[in-house]
């Protein structure tokens, strides 16, 4: 198993390499560059623009720029952000916490609700509550995130139950340790619900469908015929099988943890990576974009690997194939 993991990780290296070349080329060859904003500034001279081009290395051919960058990366230096003038990873680390707090709680929220509801709906197929859940979930899916977020903030402003965006209160630094945790949680509710409801319906339908599918299988009939009580039949036999594909889903969800949710982050003033990266992309802050892309690709690879490992863990057929 360890060997399998090692092999997968080694295989990831050329993949990352390829992604980096491709991304670098696409960003560099896309029209414009970071200096465009300076070019449009009436008080910056032509000479200064040229010196900026030299400073950022834009005067060299793209391929040379790439290898210069790669050389630095291999030495562990991912470069400076053009607009922040700090090493890109110090920026990314700074925002990682908020990103993970949001994406993980949103994940827990949507899974925590979707899975039980999906199971309930499957076991009460076509009942009133089954249809009510589907209806609510589809409303969740069809309201755009930013609109939902605005509605939420509107509600928050009216009732005062939740903060109007942000991640910490003004008096955060005076709070006790648990007070601080509570403050984070209080702030995360809005963006978490916004993000969570978007994924809820799909997951719930998936869970429901999978379980219904498994309940029709022969081994469920046989388990009943063996005299197993309904609880065992459903929760041990059918559910464990229904969960398998969902587990793969979960691995993919892991790889999306850093993907961020730009609109939700923006509306909620959530200092996550999504906004950072989108801004960087728009400004063509090359090294920042590259670093976040590499990190996301790495996470994608790790996410896929963990999806496979999780699947192997829950499904012996896969496990044996790995040897």
């Amino acid at each position: 198993m360890l060997r399998y993991i090692a092999r997968r990780l080694i295989l990831a290296i050329p993949v990352l390499f390829g992604i980096s070349i491709l991304a670098f080329m696409i960003i560099s060859l896309a029209p414009g560059d970071f200096i465009d904003n300076f070019r449009m500034n009436p008080s910056i001279s032509r000479e200064k623009i040229e010196s900026l081009e030299r400073e950022f290395g834009f005067d060299k051919p793209v391929i040379v720029q790439y290898f210069l960058w790669l050389g630095q990366v291999l030495r562990g230096n991912f470069g400076y952000s053009f607009s922040y003038h700090v090493p890109v990873f110090s920026l990314i680390w700074g925002r990682l916490g908020a990103t993970l707090l949001l994406s993980i709680t949103a994940l827990i929220f949507s899974w925590g609700i979707a899975i039980p509801l999906g199971i309930y709906s499957a076991l009460h197929q076509y009942s009133f509550s089954d249809q009510a859940f589907s209806f609510i979930a589809f409303i969740g899916i069809s309201i755009p995130n930013f609109f939902f977020a605005l509605l939420w903030l509107f509600m928050a402003a009216r009732t005062g139950w939740f903060p109007i965006g942000g991640i910490i209160s003004l008096d955060f630094h005076e709070l006790s340790f648990f007070g601080k945790i509570g403050d984070y949680l209080w702030h995360v509710v809005g963006p978490m619900v916004t993000l969570g409801t978007a994924g809820l319906a799909g997951l719930m339908r998936q869970m429901r469908g999978q379980l219904l599918d498994q309940l029709r299988q022969d081994y469920v009939l046989f388990a009943r015929a063996k005299g197993m009580p309904e609880k065992v039949v459903i929760y041990k036999h059918a559910l464990r099988n229904a969960i398998n594909p969902i587990v793969t889903f979960f691995g993919f969800a892991l790889s999306g943890l850093l993907g961020g949710a730009v609109l939700t982050e923006t509306v909620f003033n959530w200092p996550g990576m999504g906004r950072l990266v989108i801004d960087a992309l728009q400004q063509q802050d090359l090294f920042l974009v590259m670093a976040s892309l590499l990190l996301s690709s790495l996470l994608l690879i790790v996410g896929n690997l963990s999806a496979d490992l999780l699947l192997a863990w829950v499904d012996p057929r896969i496990r044996y194939r790995f040897g």
Binding site: D218, Y219, F222, K226, G227, M228, P229
Partner: protein, 344 residues
């Protein structure tokens, strides 16, 4: 003293309420099953064989329901004084069935490939059954499971028991299924086409095993098959089903020697052979019956060569001809024909 049947099915009807109409899958089925009896149920596909036995085991889910009839099981499972009594399974609560199934009625299904849960070990699936019914420790249950595997002919059972179903061959899986079905010494074993999905050679082995185990465990058996030939060697009684109805029920000898129903005749005319792979009966001319909202007439009527005026008007009753021979026909084949045949 007259032997009491262990299972007595009276006028059982099972219907499915579908959006398009009612599917009358089982209609007015009656039979008795005594200990040592091996009842064979034959009939072409869709004739209601599986629904019939599933109903007995309480495995019919909505939209299916028992429209009529009784399923009397002679058991002490629910008795307060420990004396055996007849319990009507048709009226039994759903939860209580888990005390009947597996313990008093063991079941084996058609497809061994899918009967076992793919993600649990054989040990797990056997032990959970034994522990549930017999209230023994896991260790003890494991011992028994290994012994059972040995009895059904799994080599190195103490090792194979920890395998997953996908590590076993089809035949082995069916053996495991049989072992599970027998693991709690049920009084009744129901086998729904236990060999159809298997290779021909494996089929033969499984059937051989079934025969042996039947003797060994001396449980009464209901055996569903398309294959009259298979039944011939095992069964004591045979029930012939068509379109949800029992057409004829009689001792195995009577069915083969003095069949009375035209359909039974047709069946006998096309007994499939073991040496070629056949999962279906050889075709009988004409269309299989409609099960959706059927007219109250003999379902075999459209294909029957012996139909008479009366057949167009009334559905014949299941009439008792001799003590153990019942037939549902307005114009049964006279037993004499058989005699004539013998004379030749």
């Amino acid at each position: 003293m007259e032997k009491k049947p262990i299972l007595s099915v009276r006028n059982l009807s099972t219907h499915f309420a579908m959006a398009e109409g009612t599917v009358k899958a089982v209609q007015d089925v009656s039979f008795d099953l005594s200990s040592d009896d091996v009842l064979g149920i034959v009939g072409e596909t869709g004739s209601g064989k599986s629904v019939c036995v599933k109903t007995i085991a309480g495995l019919i889910d909505p939209p299916g329901y028992i429209a009529n009839g009784e399923i009397l099981l002679y058991t002490d499972e629910f008795a307060k004084d420990g004396k055996k009594e007849y319990v009507d399974l048709a009226k039994l609560k759903y939860e209580s069935f888990s005390r009947i199934r597996g313990k008093h009625i063991g079941m084996i299904f058609q497809d061994p490939m899918t009967s076992l849960n793919p993600i649990f070990t054989i040990a797990d699936q056997m032990i959970e059954t034994i522990v549930h019914h017999e209230k023994v420790s896991e260790g003890e249950a494991r011992e028994r499971a290994i012994k059972l595997l040995e009895q059904v002919g799994i080599p190195k059972p103490s090792e194979r028991i920890d395998d997953y179903p996908f590590q076993l061959s089809g035949g082995q899986r069916q053996r495991v299924v049989i072992a599970i079905a027998l693991s709690c010494n049920p009084e009744i074993l129901v086998a729904d086409e236990p060999s159809t999905a298997l290779d021909v050679t494996v089929q033969a082995q499984i059937l051989e095993l079934m025969k042996e185990l039947q003797k060994q465990f001396s449980s009464s058996t209901i055996f569903i098959t398309h294959d009259l030939a298979v039944i011939a060697e095992m069964a004591t009684k045979i029930s012939v089903m068509y379109g949800g109805y029992q057409m004829e029920i009689a001792s195995v000898d009577d069915i083969f020697e003095v069949p009375m129903h035209p359909y039974t005749h047709a069946l006998l005319a096309c007994i499939p052979r073991l040496d070629i792979k056949q999962s279906e009966l050889l075709p009988i001319p004409g269309q299989p019956p409609v099960m959706m909202n059927p007219p109250r007439l003999c379902p075999f009527l459209p294909r029957c060569t012996r139909s008479v005026e009366k057949c167009q008007q009334v559905l014949p009753d299941l009439e008792q001809i001799t003590e153990e021979h019942f037939v549902r026909c307005n114009n049964p084949v006279p037993q004499k024909v058989q005699v004539v045949k013998e004379e030749v």
